[in-house]
């Protein structure tokens, strides 16, 4: 297992409020890690620390054997991409121009970038959106376009080491078909050696997608392991405060949580 993005004792305290306790976490290239937990458990804080969006109060984040702060901004952007929960873009770009923004850290030329943009749009079933006005899209369509943007950012192997894609609730506004599409896209990317870390609320979707499940509570990691190891009725009851039934997916063999 090649550890490529890791948190070494990182914590986050903002205005005397500890959002993330001292945390060790390793994310490997080609592996999909899902982070789950109740609201306010520190999932987004962990993601912000891992991506360098928030400066750690203690400890450090290591990307491809180098401290996150020591990276040149453009090099780092070629290996680490982030899809935030909400997008605040309020200008009427054409969809293809939004996706092309993902090519900002690369100097690969207009023709090449255009091919990558088209391929990324095809990957999210968005070819017919190409010329549309981003502001006129539905929330789910905007979410898919933003996904295409981060895919375009990491489309090819980087000379600077393993690539990592971190997503904050990417399925929140997607319909069933596009949730399935998203799972496939992420699995394909992982198969190409991209390390994927995704914050999710849907435990069943997480169990289907991830190699590893991380459960958080009150700013700390309380369980980590394969979905079958982690998803236990006792743990769920303790962390989420609800009684559930566990069955096995009839086709995939992954655990299924039933409320």
């Amino acid at each position: 297992m090649r550890v490529a993005l890791c948190s070494e004792g990182a914590s986050l305290t903002i205005q005397h409020k500890t959002l993330l306790q001292t945390t060790d976490l390793q994310l490997a290239a080609g592996e999909i890690t899902a982070i789950c937990g109740p609201n306010g458990a520190g999932k987004t804080s962990l993601l912000r620390v891992l991506t360098g969006d928030a400066i750690t109060s203690t400890g450090r984040i290591c990307l491809n054997d180098q401290s996150l702060g020591d990276w040149a901004a453009a090099d780092r952007a070629q290996t680490l991409a982030v899809l935030p929960q909400h997008s605040s873009l309020e200008f009427a770009f054409a969809v293809e121009d939004v996706v092309a923004l993902g090519r900002t850290p690369h100097n690969s030329g207009y023709q090449h970038d255009r091919q990558v943009v088209n391929a990324a749009l095809a990957a999210i079933d968005g070819e017919q959106l190409r010329q549309r006005n981003y502001m006129a899209l539905s929330g789910g369509e905007q979410q898919r376009v933003q996904l295409a943007r981060v895919l375009a950012q990491l489309w090819e192997p980087s000379p600077h080491g393993e690539r990592h894609l971190l997503l904050d609730e990417p399925t929140a506004s997607l319909d069933l078909a596009h949730q399935a599409l998203l799972l496939n896209v992420l699995k394909n990317f992982a198969a190409q050696g991209v390390g994927i870390c995704v914050v999710m609320h849907d435990l069943n979707l997480a169990a289907r997608l991830a190699n590893r499940l991380v459960i958080m509570q009150s700013g700390a990691i309380v369980a980590s392991g394969s979905p079958a190891e982690v998803l236990q009725a006792e743990l769920i009851a303790r962390v989420f405060g609800v009684q559930i039934e566990l069955v096995t997916h009839p086709k995939h063999g992954s655990p299924l949580v039933i409320l």
Binding site: A73, F91, F93
Partner: protein
Amino acid sequence: MSRINPRTFLWLAALALVPAMLSGLLLGPITIPFSAIIDTFVHSGLRTELNVELQSQLLILSQIRLPRMLLAALVGASLAICGAAMQGLFRNPLADPSLIGVSAGASAGASFVIVFSGGWLQAGQSHETLGLSLMAAGAFSGGFIAVLVVYRLATSASGPLNRGTSVATMLLAGIAISALAGACNSALSFVADNDMLRRISLWQMGRLDGANWLRVTMAGSALLVIVVGFLGQSKALNALLLGESEARFLGIDVEQLKRRVVLLTALGIGVSVAVAGAIVFVGLVVPHIVRLLIGPDHRFLMPASALLGALLLVLADALSRVIVAPAELPVGIVTALLGVPFFFSLLVRQRTRVT
């Protein structure tokens, strides 16, 4: 989307600038025939052979109309490109230098210099270069402080998770800055003598009738610097429209970008205010029209705004000279009359989008 190809639009705007500039030369209290312009260029070395009427027309053209038209074009271009960049920085199409207090701050800075530089600024032509440079420096400082304060207020108020710019805070901060700058101006007017008063009142209201070749040179140099500077930031500004964090994830040095845009904007607005006073709404109206026509990509938005800003101000100035001829209206009044309806329609649209 039915938009014009950005490159085509740049060519069209540049082409449209030619007849606009010609009309800027020909229109005015004394209408000059087109042939006089040709004569200026053809006979510039042979003035002795010309009759008296033609000679006076040539004098009007070279000493009054030409510098004035060029100053209008340069100031219009500066204001529009600064408006476009500032709207990118604030990620909001309502950010206009005159609305968020930058122009007010700059004019307070200029008044400050007029009053405290004492009598020797008025000593006459010999000190004009120095005086104007000092005034530009004062205007630059005032504008710089204003952008900085408004930006800090408007972006920190929205908290760490949602880092968007708060429109309400931005406009309120603009009102506060404008009020403070107005108070400074009043205080300065109170201690100023008659001549200073006349000069201070010039900065409250944008006008181009003080145009001369020195001002043209100054506005031209400033425009050159800010165009080159802004175009270098156009890709970064595009990324910034996604949000500050997102721009960082795309490898943009956001702090450096902000510093540069703030400095360049203060320079553009400061020099514009020093040479022509506070001309309002050009920085709001022009980038907005351009965005509707060719989209928000800063690589095209900024040069196209510069061209259209030049076009608008040249036409507005020509208009201001013929509406009440032989008197003339300060051009700031014309641009305000054009800009206010635009601003209202933008406000209404923002309201409907938020609620």
